[in-house]
């Protein structure tokens, strides 16, 4: 008895049953959020549509979005076999919608792909090194931030054209959008780094001999990932909307490639005669934005460490 008492008093052997890891826990919480799951489902559906629609056109299941049917101009949905009607040039709205989704998604995702390394690097550097480096980088960020977004994008896009298929034409567009929007991410990352930098586990890592690079990559970055992911997710609908605006203003991708913004522009003029030509692309834009926003909300709640217990 004495032995058991003695031994066990020295040790602290028991650990609670294995709980879920941090990412699994986040996933479980995300799943519980119905709106987020709905949003994720819609986005997934959209991706499938974007990838599959060119195939469907080739197989003849979907009508060709470029073919102009002179006998069916501005028809209502259902007429002459056009599920969602046709536009002013007799092109099938449904297939234009589906093909056009690729453009929106690409813009949304790729823009964030460019913003991520720029914002991350600047934010990490400013936050970690502090002092003059931080000052310089943040003032630079402030100046950049002061540029009016839309104006800057319009200027870049007007001046810099690339001809070719739509994904080539997109390069100046998402280049411009990314250049304008990295500021938020940089500031966020810097804020995260500043708040984590003073934590004791960072001091402990330095005590353990970790070099600054190791500190940034192994400690600061993984612990900032949550809010970064959320910001990037919220950035997607912003980019999509901006692209739609550019197309609506006529400086986006040139026809005949359908984009949702362009479709709104085309249908806008005849809005009283054929409202569906505007309504459907507008709804598409709206639902897409909403889906990403729901996902973003869901991610933010799921990744919030305070809501764990």
């Amino acid at each position: 008895m004495a032995v058991a008492t003695v031994e066990q008093a020295v040790r602290d052997w028991e650990v609670a049953e294995e709980q879920v890891g941090l990412w699994q826990d986040a996933w479980v919480r995300f799943r519980r959020n119905r709106l987020a799951v709905f949003g994720a489902g819609l986005v997934l559906f959209l991706i499938v549509v974007a990838v599959a629609s060119p195939l469907l056109v080739n197989l003849g299941i979907l009508k060709n979005p470029f073919t102009q049917h002179v006998d069916s101009i501005q028809t209502a949905p259902g007429v002459n076999g056009f599920a969602l009607g046709t536009d002013i040039l007799g092109r099938d709205t449904l297939s234009r919608l589906m093909i056009g989704s690729a453009v929106s998604l690409t813009v949304g995702l790729l823009v964030q792909g460019i913003i991520f390394p720029i914002g991350l690097t600047i934010g990490l550097t400013a936050g970690y090194f502090g002092g003059r480096v931080d000052n310089l980088l943040m003032r630079f960020t402030d100046i950049w931030y002061a540029f009016p977004d839309l104006l800057f994008v319009l200027v870049v896009v007007s001046v810099w054209h690339l001809d070719g298929p739509w994904f080539i034409q997109l390069i100046p567009i998402f280049g411009a959008i990314a250049l304008v929007n990295w500021v938020n991410l940089a500031r966020l990352v810097r804020g995260q780094v500043l708040s984590i930098k003073e934590k004791e586990y960072i001091e402990a890592a330095r005590s353990s001999g970790s070099t600054p690079v190791k500190l940034i990559l192994k400690h600061l970055l993984p612990n900032s990932l949550g809010p970064i992911i959320v910001t990037l997710t919220f950035g997607i609908p912003q980019a999509i909307f901006l692209e739609a605006v550019l197309s609506f203003l006529g400086v986006g991708i040139r026809p005949p490639q359908p984009t949702w913004g362009q479709m709104v522009y085309d249908g806008y003029e005849a809005i009283y005669a054929n409202p569906t030509a505007v309504v459907f692309p507008a709804l598409a834009i709206g639902f897409t934005l909403l889906s990403f926003t729901f996902i973003g909300d869901g991610l933010r709640d799921a990744l919030d460490p305070r809501m764990r217990r």
Partner: protein, 336 residues
């Protein structure tokens, strides 16, 4: 059995860490030129194999001093000599190499472990950083470390949040031991723990010290815990050391009025003793470290200060008073 720290040979300097005239000022923003004088001229020596307790209240600078000694913060001035190496002049890789021999245990068991790393990774990190052993040897060492601090070695793939506060603190201790340091700075290691868990950790720290010939700088605000663990105790006030003595001498015959007031303020878990205890009350509050009082920093609150007079004009030096190994910084040391 774990590798022991090198045994001290007789010709080695009995003092392991020498802190001489160290000060650390944090500039307050703007163009005011003002600074928070967190540590403002500290002389201290930490002897091989001992536990030096460091106590003081808010603003005294003890936590800052802890980070200066381990090189986590650069000094504004002064010298810190660790086993013959002058730390204040080292940077980068050289500093890291010396740091291997001095480690730190932190206060908050929740914040001192990276929540995104497994316990195994956390303990392996120092071994990886200093390139100790092969990968397989490192993994074995991690399990050994866990066993050393009384934790089950099978849980290396668990995350910190799955452990209790006391267990996390043990992991922190294991991490400090990983590279076989000779000196460990314990920054309030039990302040955030429940009473009975704190007792376990205190016992563990004592065991480890005996087993590995460690030297401790033990920082705490709880004088009872400090007295239990330490060989000598140093008292800090507003960025300076005001008294240093053997743990019994400092309690039986404090030489500095602040030490005396501090000791008299501590309640004792004994209702009858409590009835008789009369705490010395200090006037006013702890002044701001941005603008410390002139002369002796303690003079505005001191019950025996001669003001106006030497106490408000001349800063007292830390000199021998009282018992054999006792020093105090007071013009009227012991005269109360």
């Amino acid at each position: 059995m774990a590798e022991r720290a090198p045994l001290t040979a007789l010709e080695l300097d009995p003092v392991l860490v020498r802190i001489g005239g160290v000060y650390k000022h944090f500039p307050v923003g703007g163009f005011s030129g003002l600074a928070v004088r967190a540590v403002d001229g500290v002389d201290l020596e930490i002897r091989r194999g001992e536990t030096l307790g460091l106590v003081g209240e808010s603003g005294c600078g003890k936590s800052t001093l802890a980070r200066l000694v381990t090189g986590l913060l650069p000094v504004t001035g002064g010298s810190i000599n660790f086993d013959g190496h002058e730390i204040t002049s080292l940077r980068g890789g050289k500093l890291r190499r010396v740091r291997r021999r001095m480690q730190m245990i932190f206060q908050d068991p929740f914040a001192s472990l990276d929540p995104r790393m497994t316990v195994g990774d956390i303990l392996q990190e120092p071994l990886d950083n200093f390139g100790i052993g092969t990968i397989r040897e490192r993994r074995r060492r991690v399990q050994e470390l866990l066993r050393l601090v009384g934790l089950n070695p099978n849980f290396t793939n668990r995350y910190p949040h799955e452990f209790s506060g006391g267990q996390r603190q043990r992991i922190g201790i294991a991490r400090a031991l990983a590279v076989n340091p000779s000196f460990i700075v314990c920054d309030e290691p039990v302040s955030a723990l429940d009473v009975s868990i704190a007792a376990q950790i205190i016992n563990l720290l004592q065991d480890l010290q005996k087993e590995f010939n460690l030297t401790y700088l033990f920082i705490a605000h709880d004088l009872a815990v400090v007295r239990h663990l330490s060989d000598r105790i140093a008292v800090m006030y507003l960025g300076k050391v005001v008294e240093t003595a053997d743990r019994n001498d400092i309690y039986d015959k404090p030489q500095h009025p602040y030490t005396k007031a501090l000791l008299s303020s501590i309640p004792v878990p004994d209702p009858i003793a409590e009835r008789g205890r009369a705490p010395i009350s200090l006037k006013g509050e702890i002044p701001s470290p941005v603008n410390p009082p002139s002369g002796c920093r303690f003079h505005p609150r001191c019950p025996i200060a001669r003001v106006p007079g030497i106490c408000s004009e001349e800063e007292p030096l830390l000199v021998a008073h009282g018992a054999k190994d006792q020093v105090a910084a007071c013009h009227f040391a012991g005269q109360f």
